[in-house]
Symmetry: D2
């Protein structure tokens, strides 16, 4: 069961991350899905995101950015899902403390493709700190990168 | 002692990273210095790089990108410095294999400032794999982030 | 298809890790299974491995050790499986270069239990460097820790 | 200025870690120094700690253990130093929540030597979470490993 407050909180966060973060707009980053089950974040290949011009490969910094955004959203979704009695004020306050403490990125293969999709899951959930694992695939399902991040959530 | 071939190799790499990587141009990333002693990479704050619009803070993905670029350049500089008898062909071949295997970013403080400078050093140098530590400071010398990256160099 | 040379190489490595590494003997670490499909490493709880005497919890250093051993064995198994035409001399030489470059451990829950089992998989396989992910569970299937390690294999 | 309560808290913690953690006794781990300036943890080479019998090298798990212990003690020392008005009850409560969230170990060189000394510093200090960097040297000052750990402190 998901409460209306939970749903609305996630909807608002998706709206902010999708439309009101300048760097996400610069990259063309889109939140495709965001609910208590998880998140799907997408970036489409374009010339400006290339790191290696001879091989048409996504810059590793774009990969790291996408994984970090997925991790933060996943951590917050886990926090929202952890209690049914959140007030909207409590969740807004928690959102202001959301931040990455540390992140590891494992680059598995060169970032070739047209559409890059990031997904994630919570592996340690806490009231203050959550740890998430994230993955990046291209449109053919090729696994390009893994992430592991520790997030402040309260 | 640094040979002409070593100097030219680093100069060429700096030129590529500074001018011919589309994602570096998008961010406004500049190689300020690159020699056998190390590297200094700079990004200037601008609206498009902001992650938190209420607090005017650099997006963590920009931090991760800058640290990764510093790490790769540092690893390559270490490789170039490791031998005085490199041929230009050998170094060009090594450059094509340069890549990040994994990276950890530790976010220490919110990314406030006008000019962000990344520097680094090699902590494990090898003929195939090097490990580097990287740092990010703003123009006031505030330490914003640490990175640790493992790079393929051969 | 697994060749006899592959099978024998893994059998020898399991024998060394199981019987001839003094620190493994000190911990009581056992290789339960080791083949081209993967590895299962076990440690049984005993007083000497405790980190927190009030709560009877496995020391985090034991967790890290077990995950690192699993990662190294997994990386080597991946290398052995990658070619069917290895000679025994080639594999023996590769074994001498096997080593951990870096490892991340994520501690998910306190290390409670009687039997701790570590398993792993290769996420990036290479001729020189492999990256593995490892997991630690107790006898009830509770997931206690994750590891991610980068290993030199050649 | 360091208060008596701060000094006593660190002294008690050093006593516990030095004498009353079974796994520390098994390894022969000793707290040489522990005050508001930092910590020095030592392990002496002995047969049982060897990972590679042909080369007389310390097992990587011992390195990871020592770095993790240094990190936890460093994080707690940082917390103790952060306020002069701690009560002994508050610090005792904080000690019960002290724990490693995640740790990265970078193995720089084979663990050769007779006496291994770990030291550390806080790079991000917080009321709930601290991040520390740790180092391991042998008796000749050779730098063997780096660690970076994120610790729960409240």
């Amino acid at each position: 069961m998901t409460t209306e407050i939970q749903l609305n909180a996630l909807k608002q966060v998706a709206e902010i991350f999708d439309k009101h973060v300048p760097f996400h707009n610069l990259l063309g980053l889109e939140i495709k899905r965001y609910d208590t089950e998880g998140v799907e974040v997408v970036i489409r290949m374009k010339l400006e995101l290339i790191g290696n011009i001879h091989q048409n490969i996504l810059h590793g910094g774009v990969t790291a950015t996408l994984l970090d955004v997925v991790g933060g959203l996943t951590a917050f979704s886990g926090l929202v899902s952890s209690r049914e009695d959140w007030t909207i004020e409590q969740l807004e306050k928690r959102l202001t403390t959301l931040g990455t403490i540390d992140m590891r990125v494992d680059f598995l293969r060169p970032g070739r493709g047209e559409v890059f999709t990031g997904t994630g899951c919570v592996i340690r959930s806490g009231n203050r700190v959550s740890v998430c694992r994230m993955e990046l695939h291209n449109e053919e399902g090729t696994h390009l990168a893994f992430g592991t991040g520790t997030y402040m959530v309260g």
